[in-house]
Symmetry: C2
Subunit: 139 residues, 2 copies
């Protein structure tokens, strides 16, 4: 089956995700979790609106207050979601992460062995977002 | 100022974000947007729960139905957020993206020139999530 060349040739490419976004009303508490537990450098923090943490690949994890970010008329388009979001981080040594999380008093909500040396550990950040640490290729 | 070596040496590292998550009740419509407009390969689709699209860096963009994903007792921890989320994609040729989006009838909600050859184009996906295409280092 041949592809439609006109459409494919005009399709620009993204490099990758640049901003991954989660929400939480206590920006400081959520930012501390991703800085102190997940180990991401905090590069910007405005406790009324957002925190930005650097990801190893060069992108950022952004934590927004869902109410402040949804206010109309901001310089950027408004957004803001209520409820538990989800993010998964790729890791190499999941056992080390399990020990690290337990040592820091972070409750392990679930552990799943997907087989074929693939497994996940799930915790919650202070805003209730589901945070997964993944070893292996689930997708 | 010296760093506390005990803490730093025990900090495991993430490789990067593996799953970036957005929500939308019409999974098919949202998945088509990211497949046909953003150009991501659709690798899994269950119209009642989620769609998974491959990102160039090896991770995935997941689209969940916020109600179905929040049902308690799923094999994985529940989550689900209502309201407009946000994602930004890093691109090299933002002019090509602007033309591509306009050609496909996607309304450009805003364009921002951040200076120093950094700029953003914002659109909405069919669920109302704010989707940004970024050239340059904003963070």
């Amino acid at each position: 089956m041949s592809s439609p060349p006109d459409i494919n040739s005009s399709q620009p490419r993204i490099v990758d995700v640049y901003e991954t976004v989660l929400y939480g009303s206590d920006i400081d508490a959520v930012a501390r979790f991703y800085r102190d537990i997940v180990g991401l450098p905090l590069i910007q923090s405005d406790p009324d609106l957002l925190a930005a943490l650097r990801l190893p690949g060069g992108g950022v994890l952004l934590i927004f207050d869902p109410v402040a970010a949804a206010v109309p008329g901001r310089p950027v388009p408004s957004h803001g979601a209520e409820g538990a979001g989800h993010v998964a981080f790729r890791v190499e040594d999941l056992n080390a992460w399990h020990a690290h999380l337990a040592d820091r008093g972070v409750e392990i909500e679930r552990e799943i062995d997907w087989g074929a040396e693939r497994s996940s550990v799930y915790v919650r950040d202070p805003a209730g977002n589901s945070v997964e640490f993944v070893r292996g290729e689930l997708w």
